[in-house]
Symmetry: C2
Subunit: 250 residues, 2 copies
């Protein structure tokens, strides 16, 4: 499994992904699931991937035209005029990759094995920062005012705190804190999501990461969040009104 | 979907279930998923069900021998000497019901459609209160000191708070509060889990419910928990140490 979250804030975009891949519980590895391309002053584009690793790596390789000699490669991500067109292109490559692998492996019966989903985030100069969720079928949706963040992978454990904690006006620092809590809840519940985490903060109109880091399992801040969140939750819980068995009769 | 939780405390057992069933999003109904049988001073046995409603209702009907004339019915739940034997019997009826419906509908291809899971809780005089989770295959596991609660149905959204908030020594009132928070997180995230909720509190050696209620969506306490939990979570979140982009360089 995987857990990735992308969110839009007034100030820009914040992305976090885990790095665990597994093929069975006895075959786990660390793979980067967050990718970035940028042209200073002009554009920054990032992808986060969930699903079949061979599929998602193939999509990235096709985007970068790795089948060509290095000197002949053209990365269409760096040339397409709008984020919408980037989403169309990534969706097309994803759909083709999934469909091709399925066709090579017995068609519909293998349908679920090779799928993947992608979160696309970025900004091109002169336009707004944008966030898309791209499905294995190649179509996609865009984040809106009503749904300002996307999750892929193991999304459920970490969702309640995102729903309650997200605020479009929040600072980047608070957004990182919120993501860490959401990831910590997920990591505590699902072995197939694992440290280290990748973090990227993209400020509006900056076209390069404001902040980009790998968070290891011994990261002091992550450890502090993980331990103090237990206490904070307990305090929150005890701050709620107490239940009494006789309330209805009062 | 469904959400049911059963937990063992030092003081006894606490159970909560939702009541929504759906066959498609445009066909939703309220059905009770919590069942109870008791013999004063001697035993109390409860079941909570998740999965195919026809399957779970068939299991309950078989337990109560509803195919016989009322005067001839014997409820084996009220006669079996141990909770373990009750779990064996419920598991057997569940497996037979699932397998029979599958066989009548094309075998393995229909395998996932008719399954169900059951949480069994109760106490028989002279023995400890016990809690079991029974699988569609008819086998089961029992709650232990390490895993003192079971969830069935849509379990993920409400799990992190249970993991952090549960304490074997907690009062019944705190356990009900914890369950309400867990259900509220689930209800906010998944439309297929719905109000009203059924609640039962079984005190050790009492053999009848200490407290048994249906919690409607306008229940004053539930509404208070639901609204104040948002604020409590936000306060908990802000009580955490702040992230700074420069911490690693310090």
């Amino acid at each position: 499994m995987t857990y990735c979250v992308g969110m839009v804030l007034d100030k820009g975009l914040v992305l976090m992904s885990d790095t665990r891949t597994n093929s069975g519980v006895d075959n786990i590895s660390v793979f980067r699931k967050m990718y970035r391309w940028s042209v200073p002053g002009q554009r920054i584009i990032t992808l986060m991937t969930a699903g079949n690793l061979a599929t998602t790596q193939a999509v990235i390789s096709k985007l970068e035209e790795r089948s060509k000699a290095p000197g002949e490669r053209q990365n269409s991500l760096l040339e397409l005029p709008t984020m919408f067109q980037v989403a169309v292109e990534v969706g097309k490559l994803l759909r083709e990759t999934v469909q091709q692998t399925q066709a090579e492996n017995g068609g519909a019966a293998a349908s679920s094995r090779f799928t993947a989903s992608i979160i696309l985030a970025g900004q091109i100069a002169g336009m707004e920062p944008r966030l898309f969720m791209i499905y294995p079928e190649g179509n996609f949706i865009e984040a809106s005012f009503d749904t300002p963040f996307f999750q892929i992978g193991e999304t459920k454990y970490g969702r309640p705190i995102l729903i309650r904690g997200y605020d479009r006006n929040m600072s980047f620092e608070d957004a990182v804190k919120l993501l860490m809590v959401s990831f910590d809840s997920t990591l505590k519940a699902n072995l197939s999501v694992g440290m280290p985490l990748d973090l990227m903060v993209i400020e509006r109109d900056r076209f390069e990461p404001l902040h980009e880091r790998r968070i290891e399992s011994d990261d002091r801040y992550y450890v502090a969040i993980s331990t103090s969140w237990s206490n904070a939750l307990r305090n929150a819980f005890h701050s709620l009104p107490d239940y009494t068995f006789y309330q209805q009769a009062e």
